[in-house]
Symmetry: C2
Subunit: 306 residues, 2 copies
């Protein structure tokens, strides 16, 4: 095997109370990548379709992640990478993470898997560094491993895969506006009230318990964010209206995907997912903002060969 | 049945990262209470042994909790309560919670269980109000329900019972010094850095995941407290030395029980629990402070009839 074609899924990070630690993997949206082993050492991005992104290896998250992995192996193998973006850059559903995950996953396959999927997370996170300045793993972990993931610690990296209730579905609406990373960071407070932090970690513990025990009601009660959402949501026009519509239509919870502008809702079952998607679409009709809506199962496999 | 004799166990609240939300129930330490149904309406505390505590119903946590429950039932039943304290007041292992839990549990039995154990938590928490000023449930929940409990929310009360790995044990050392509640509150900061809060809620999520998945190593990695322990531990002479000794002897983690002065360590298995207890005892030998040491299984039953 000297060529592999992989599907690299979109992901939702910062799931309500789980800011910076909880992520989940989507099924319905993702990129495709074709990775070829070649004689010339190094990594070359030969083609990118669907989005306007840099081809230079050192400026591309897939290139940087691939190089981090090859450096760790002290390998002089060579690879050519084609990236076909299904995920829009800047949408808040892990576009750069998907590329980073796909690159290390594909190359690992072509090298006969020197690393486990869990071990690949660290290399993919290196790729994230050039997208966001930080080697964060809250999108690359679910992109690689699938399901829900908890990043307990970034340094050393400690990622926990958490089970997913069977009927859990996600709805994602992507308003096509730009939220600048600087802005989404600037609105965060450096210090937060201890009282609110306690509420948040009570909810994180409850959310994890709900996932292990298939308790959709508890999941719903725990999907709150007292810390970040109140500040970041002001950067997303119509957030409050969309959230209200989603919850009224029966969503278990609703929040900002990553640092936005996408907004996610979680639901029990596909029927409710469709109702929630429709309610969110209707609520957004008044806003003159182009948007996509995705309805997705939770992807429990993560990045895979197709 | 007009008399019931109950065992009301000691508990550990504020388990490391789980400040104000996570508690667990001990097996080896507790109170006994004898509750008798009588003709005269109301609640009378007839006897307290083992500790010097108020007999007046309205000043005693057991009395207040019992009245809260009878008021909710609009009941004019009457009860006499004897309390035999095995738990030292002010030790930080839920002395007042045990009395509150025992009172409502026993009366509920004598009334043919109008409430579930979970429903009793709110009444017992009312009793806690006179001990600490707040109707907190992080000791009464594990005292009643047993095992590990997560208090997701106090208002409305939302308590989640979390499974306990079979071999988990607790060691508790109680240095017989007084930590004044005012002092243990005064050292807490009203605001905390967001970065530390994220670490904390990552650990809470991981701790819950570890309990569901019987992952002792993950449990150990998550038993950290970045927020409260650094401040409160200065009120407990020898804390750092004891913690170091416990961890060196193989404890999974070690922290302050409740708001102290007791210090707990968690271990895998009884053999290690004994080693950890011995190491803590040796480490405390230099300190001229009287202390008790308890080695206990995690009590999965909570308050029971004996």
């Amino acid at each position: 095997m000297d060529t592999v074609r992989v599907f690299c899924p979109a992901t939702i990070a910062n799931i309500s109370c789980g800011f910076d630690v909880l992520g989940l993997c989507l099924d319905a949206v993702g990129d495709e990548m074709i990775i070829k082993k070649v004689d010339r050492p190094g990594v070359v991005i030969t083609k990118i379709t669907g989005q306007d992104l840099p081809l230079e290896t050192e400026k591309n998250v897939a290139g940087v992640a691939a190089l981090a992995m090859l450096n760790a192996l002290k390998s002089d193998a060579g690879f050519e990478i084609e990236i076909h973006k299904g995920i829009k850059a800047g949408s808040g559903i892990g576009s750069s993470a998907a590329s980073a995950a796909g690159a290390v996953f594909g190359i690992n396959k072509l090298l006969n898997e020197p690393f486990t999927k869990a071990e690949l997370v660290a290399f993919a996170a290196e790729g994230e560094k050039i997208a966001s300045g930080v080697a964060h793993a809250d999108n690359v972990a679910p992109a690689l491993l699938g399901g829900f993931t908890l990043v307990r610690s970034c340094d050393p990296l400690d990622v926990i895969a958490i089970p997913v209730p069977d009927e859990l579905m996600a709805v994602v609406i992507h308003p096509q506006i730009e939220v600048r990373t600087e802005d989404s960071r600037a609105v965060l407070k450096e210090n937060i009230p201890l009282k609110k932090a306690i509420v948040q970690w009570g909810n994180v513990g409850a959310l994890v318990a709900a996932l292990y025990s298939n308790d959709y009601e508890l999941l719903s009660r725990s999907l709150h964010d007292e810390i970040v959402e109140p500040h970041r949501s002001i950067l997303i026009p119509g957030f409050d209206k969309l959230k209200k519509a989603a919850l009224k239509a029966g969503a278990l919870g609703c929040g900002i995907s990553g640092s936005g502008p996408s907004i996610f809702a979680l639901t029990k079952g596909e029927t409710n997912a469709k109702e929630v998607a429709s309610a969110m679409k209707n609520a957004y009709a008044d806003f003159d903002i182009q948007h996509d809506i995705h309805i997705s199962k939770i992807n429990t496999k993560g990045t895979v060969v197709i």
